[in-house]
């Protein structure tokens, strides 16, 4: 097995209970800096819960989360975001009554939201220019003045990615980015994710669309009933008998 470069994110035996329901149990993962790490698994396996714990929206019942060697579990989401972890929601959630460009500008404010920097104006030329550059990067340049809620689903997902990029993140977590997309849209999205990764952004990906995740990922984890069932390189993982039995079904290996 290829020696993994230094990990940017690590979870150490993360366990999460919702009342009596066990959502995650002893989940320890390592995300290598500069990699695309995929997390697959059936519905209810705890994938989104894991993302929410990393992003600070949920506190783990047990276990720790490290980002660049520092503990981040229990920190509020805005602090995690400002440290360089961006994430997109499973069902696109934007700032619906704001324009596309304002959505991006809002996410550019990270630095100014601290202390009393918030009294600075946000309409300065270089900030607006930056926002347009990001819109162009994700292919939203024709929609900058439209309200976020008017965009079709595929473009709303792009807007989520644009907002994530505005944070200048080191790690981007994408929650089912290809869900509900046509084959064509999914292909475009794949290219976008690859190009971001080439620029040095570490990507974490939750997917139901297994071929999509297999093609993109350098390393994969399979979550099943809140536990890690298997991990390894994508082709190793999808040929793992445990994974085929529990999740993929015999059809996947044959096909």
């Amino acid at each position: 097995m290829k020696l993994l470069p230094q990990s940017i994110l690590e979870t150490d035996s993360v366990t999460k209970y919702f009342g009596g329901i066990r959502a995650l149990y002893n989940v320890s993962i390592k995300v290598a800096e500069g990699s695309i790490t995929g997390i697959i698994g059936p519905n209810g396996a705890g994938k989104t819960t894991l993302f929410k714990i990393i992003a600070g929206f949920l506190k783990p019942t047990k276990g720790r989360v490290f980002f660049e060697g520092e503990r981040i579990d229990g920190k509020p989401p805005h602090e995690v975001a400002l440290r360089g972890i961006a994430f997109t929601f499973q069902v696109p959630r934007g700032l619906p009554k704001m324009t596309v460009i304002d959505n991006i500008i809002a996410a550019l404010g990270g630095y100014w939201y601290r202390g009393i920097g918030f009294i600075r104006t946000r309409t300065r030329r270089n900030i607006v220019d930056k926002a347009y550059t990001i819109a162009e990067k994700v292919g939203l340049e024709e929609y900058t003045e439209r309200l976020a809620e008017e965009l079709p689903l595929g473009l709303q997902k792009r807007l989520e990615i644009a907002r994530a990029l505005a944070l200048e993140p080191k790690l981007v977590m994408l929650d089912e980015p290809a869900a509900g997309m046509s084959a064509e849209e999914a292909e475009e999205l794949k290219q976008l994710i690859k190009s971001l990764n080439r620029e040095g952004v570490t990507i974490m990906l939750i997917e139901h669309n297994v071929p999509f995740a297999v093609e993109l990922s350098d390393y994969m984890y399979v979550l099943h009933y809140g536990e890690i069932l298997s991990e390894g390189k994508p082709d190793e993982v999808v040929s793992d008998k445990k994974v085929i039995d529990a999740y993929l079904g015999a059809g996947y290996a044959r096909g």
Binding site: A81, L82, D102, G109
Partner: protein, 271 residues
């Protein structure tokens, strides 16, 4: 009110805090209006942030109820403590002086307009600041706001405090204008009046707030015979507006502004 999606139904209490601050400083410590006004703004800002911190977990109707409760508490504090004039009120609040001249009557109106002008400029500036976009973003979706690095709690408290500060400034102007204030000037019905102003004019825009105040203040003057039924009129006005035009006359997506814009575009074309 409205910018960060928080409703304050006890705004009269903050007007009262500003008015009392000004009145006490002016009558007990002989400080001039020019000191009292900023002091009123600062005190109401601080009390506003305290209330903001206490009610941070509350949203929507629960926040609204809490602010109503706060209004009643403040009024009773004014009534029971000698410092605030108790049931007699505070009398002899001096008029502001400019170069030794007392400002009264029309000059006072000019002064108020000038301060209103400054307040509008400040509000417009804040609208264009990062704070403005943080408020807007929080009103749209708190989780998304957190995910892009906005400290939602901090900005919600700030929004509350800024709203309270504006109330405090209004209170200070009121105290020095009337020269006499008493606890009942700041009771809950006045909060309803303020609410009807922002609903009629349009919640969440500056132009809406100002237009609403004019309309709500002028209506009883025009229909003087109906003066006794003022509160019924305000309440009816709120209900009618919410049914017919919930975004207010000059709120976002307002028909009045759309019409004006359409006319402007037409005249552009015909030229």
């Amino acid at each position: 009110m409205g910018r960060a999606g928080q409703v304050n139904l006890g705004q009269a209490a903050f007007v009262g805090v500003g008015a009392m601050t000004s009145a006490i400083l002016a009558t007990k410590y002989n400080l001039s209006f020019w000191v009292c006004l900023p002091a009123a703004a600062i005190v109401s800002f601080i009390i506003g942030s305290l209330i903001g911190v206490i009610s941070i977990r509350l949203r929507h109707d629960f926040l609204a109820i809490t602010t109503i409760g706060f209004n009643f508490i403040v009024v009773y504090i004014f009534l029971y403590y000698e410092l605030f004039g108790a049931s007699y009120g505070i009398i002899g609040i001096p008029k502001p002086l400019i170069m030794g001249l007392k400002i009264r009557g029309f000059a006072y109106a000019l002064l108020s307009w000038a301060i209103l002008g400054l307040a509008i400029l400040l509000a417009r500036y804040l609208d264009r600041s990062w704070m403005g976009i943080a408020f807007e973003s929080i009103r749209e979706d708190e989780d998304v706001s957190e995910s892009i690095g906005i400290n939602v709690k901090k900005f919600k408290v700030l929004a509350f405090a800024v709203g309270a500060m504006y109330g405090g400034i209004a209170g200070s102007l009121l105290a020095h204008f009337k020269g006499y204030i008493v606890y009942s000037d700041f009771s809950f019905p006045y909060s309803i009046m303020i609410l009807s102003m922002s609903i009629v004019g349009g919640i969440d825009t500056i132009a809406g707030a100002i237009a609403g105040s004019f309309i709500v203040i002028m209506l009883p003057e025009i229909f003087r015979p109906l003066m006794e039924y003022r509160m019924i009129m305000y309440s009816a006005l709120i209900i009618v507006m919410l049914f017919v035009r919930p975004q207010g006359l000059l709120g976002r997506e307002s028909i009045v502004l759309e019409k004006i814009r359409a006319i402007l575009i037409e005249t552009e074309k015909t030229r």
